[in-house]
């Protein structure tokens, strides 16, 4: 199977869907002539032309509205927010409109739109450009939230998201665009709402998603050397959440470490922790351990940024402690 980057996998997904469905188009800042701020749409202007690969003014709220309106009129828009940080300017369209249209209209108007956005910490991009807001989107009924960790999942999930009849928030971690993996050339999809056991284990369940899943895999390898068998549950989709997969794993391992790069309070880690307690309380040998970003705005200085972002070592240590009964 060909080995390509996460970014190329997304590009493939977009091209394949646009080739087979004329109603699919992509719109956003710098997606066309500039080939995308993160080059995800590279070459697409040349293949599909300016009608279907559309550059916009710097108007996030309108970009989201273009998506909602086009979707209501029957198209399948993929809107790109240059980064999730700027989607704060578009939340009224996403949350008050896209997420509620179907419900408010009593089932008449669904919104088959995908909002793609790079998310997470970068390389010293500072407080306003290093955020994660998946918990905000997960909070809102009517939205679906997807955060793939591997090129294979990225392609399969983006294709599912584009075909999905509901608004999907599709978040791509900025620091994994260049990671590589096997990706089939042909058409395939990864269904929304299904977690993937990226590694089987018996001693502790590492529940994770996006870039944290890559750290989890590395940590699990190190743990194995110490005879600790960690199961890595990559959620892939946060809403709908694959609660069964999470509980099944924890009921087996009796220990859970939940991981997010995002800030802790009211984050995905909190939701997972609560969900696990509610569904597997009697199976737990230890409290669920949360690993999150440090609860501060992201500092610019390299040394401070390093301290603020959770990684492999944090997962590794947490698993060791929880298995050793130190948590």
């Amino acid at each position: 199977m060909p080995v390509i980057t996460y970014r190329e996998a997304l590009n493939q997904a977009l091209r394949e869907e646009m080739r087979q469905d004329p109603d699919v188009f992509i719109v956003g800042e710098e997606v066309a002539e500039y080939q995308g701020a993160y080059k995800v749409t590279e070459g697409m202007l040349a293949e599909f032309g300016p009608q279907r690969v559309v550059d916009t003014p710097i108007s996030e709220e309108a970009i989201a509205g273009i998506g909602v309106g086009a979707a209501l009129a029957g198209l399948k828009p993929v809107i790109e927010m240059m980064t999730v940080n700027f989607s704060l300017l578009a939340l009224d369209q996403i949350v008050n409109h896209a997420a509620k249209y179907l419900y408010m209209s009593g089932g008449q108007y669904n919104v088959p739109m995908v909002m793609r956005a790079p998310t997470g910490v970068g390389l010293q991009l500072g407080a306003q450009h290093s955020q994660n807001f998946e918990s905000w989107f997960v909070h809102c009924p009517g939205l679906k939230v997807v955060l793939p960790a591997t090129p294979y999942d990225a392609k399969g999930l983006l294709k599912s998201s584009i075909r999905d009849p509901d608004p999907v928030i599709f978040l791509e971690h900025e620091l994994i665009y260049l990671t590589k993996g096997e990706v089939p050339d042909e058409d395939y999809v990864v269904p929304l709402g299904v977690a993937d056991i990226k590694r089987k284990g018996t001693d502790v369940s590492i529940i994770c998603y996006s870039r944290m899943a890559l750290f989890a895999m590395k940590a699990a390898e190190r743990l194995e050397e110490e005879g600790i068998s960690a199961e890595v549950v990559d959620l892939r989709t946060l809403r709908p959440l694959d609660v069964d997969a999470v509980l099944e794993s924890v009921r087996k391992t009796h220990r859970a470490v939940v991981c997010e790069e995002d800030w802790p309070m009211c984050g995905m880690g909190a939701e997972l922790s609560a969900t696990i307690m509610e569904g597997a309380f009697d199976y737990l040998d230890a409290p669920v351990k949360r690993i999150s970003g440090v609860d501060v705005p992201m500092p610019y200085a390299k040394n401070l940024e390093k301290l603020a972002v959770p990684g492999e070592e944090d997962i590794y240590q947490a698993c060791r402690q929880i298995v050793a009964g130190e948590i």
Binding site: A70, A73, S105, G107, D166
Partner: protein, 336 residues
């Protein structure tokens, strides 16, 4: 363009439009008036809940605009949209039932007064966010152009909405991409209790769009024929691919902002001045004067409309509430 006032132009129009259509437009204006009066009454009796914004006084705007549209055109309304959706041709029974929160309502009782939708009529809501429908209208316009269609998307909004960032972003993009969107600003002089002069640095709202290089016109929002006329021009512009059009209709709401608002921020005199220019009375006089309608016609319309409104209330009262399981449906279109 300046406000259309010339007598001759008016007579021209009166004659140009077939009697049946005059009758329809007149009936629709009266229907909206009586429907809204009834909605107000039902609200006082607590048969209708939530916020309820009446369209009384502004009837000519929606009726004039909608009368110039095709069935396949799209409409984006506001939260003051009872009149807009009725003018778009929706069944008064289903609209009233929605206000009653019944499952027979246009939105199955799940939307309410501020969230009326009717897919059959391409009426896309119904948003309670001021200015929230403007970016969406641009999106609908984009879809029309994407498909090479000839439809138009009409977007209604108030004088207050002009100051939202959404207005700016949407008009710039619609103009930049030449989208077939007809922006209809219903300038009723107030956004809640705030006079347009206290909200807009340039109270002449048509001036507010100069920066987008967009075709625009001001029109007397109490003059159905003037609105009908400019609507035809504007819609033609949009259909022909020359881009969006902005109409400022100077109108007035007789009632408070919502049923909860006593409107103490304006004088009785001001309200009276506007009532004198009532759009229904004016159009009625024109029709009678030109011999297009007779007193009998007027009385018939009055009787018909009263029956329709009465019937809409009876229907709503007799309709069932949504079943409890409806709480969980329509959150997602896909099975989860």
């Amino acid at each position: 363009m300046a406000i259309t006032r010339s007598r001759t132009a008016e007579e021209e129009l009166l004659q140009k439009i077939p009697r049946e259509e005059h009758l329809q437009m007149y009936r629709m204006m009266v229907l909206i008036r009586r429907f809204e009066e009834m909605a107000g009454k039902m609200y006082m009796q607590a048969a209708i809940g939530g916020f309820c914004h009446l369209y009384i006084g502004q009837e000519a705007v929606a009726v004039g605009i909608q009368s110039a549209l095709r069935p396949d055109d799209y409409v984006m309304g506001t939260y003051r949209e009872h009149g807009q959706i009725l003018a778009a041709g929706s069944d008064p029974k289903a609209v009233m039932a929605e206000l009653f929160g019944k499952v027979t309502g246009v939105s199955r009782g799940k939307g309410g007064s501020m969230h009326l939708f009717d897919r059959e009529k391409n009426f896309m809501g119904g948003t309670a966010i001021v200015g929230g429908n403007l970016p969406i209208a641009a999106g609908v316009g984009f879809a029309i152009k994407y498909r090479g269609g000839e439809q138009v998307c009409v977007c209604y909004f108030g004088d207050g909405a002009v100051n939202e960032g959404a207005f700016h972003e949407s008009l710039n993009i619609a103009a930049l991409w030449k989208l077939p969107v007809l922006f209809v600003c219903e300038n009723n002089l107030y956004g809640m209790g705030t006079q347009v002069t206290r909200a807009s640095a340039v109270p002449d709202l048509e001036r507010r769009v100069v920066g987008y290089g967009i075709e625009s016109a001001q029109v007397d929002g109490m003059d159905l024929l003037a609105i009908r006329k400019i609507a035809e021009t504007a819609i033609q512009e949009c259909r022909s691919g020359r881009g969006p059009f902005f109409i400022e209709a100077k109108t007035y709401r007789y009632r408070g902002h919502s049923m909860a608002d006593p409107a103490t921020y304006r004088t009785k005199e001001e309200v009276e001045e506007w009532r004198v220019r009532d759009p229904i009375t004016r159009y009625e006089k024109q029709l009678l004067g030109a011999g297009i309608l007779t007193d009998d016609d007027i009385q018939n319309v009055s009787r018909e409309v009263d029956e329709i409104v009465e019937e809409s209330v009876r229907f709503s009262e007799e309709s069932p509430l949504p079943a409890p399981h409806e709480l969980y449906t329509d959150v997602y279109a896909a099975e989860i």
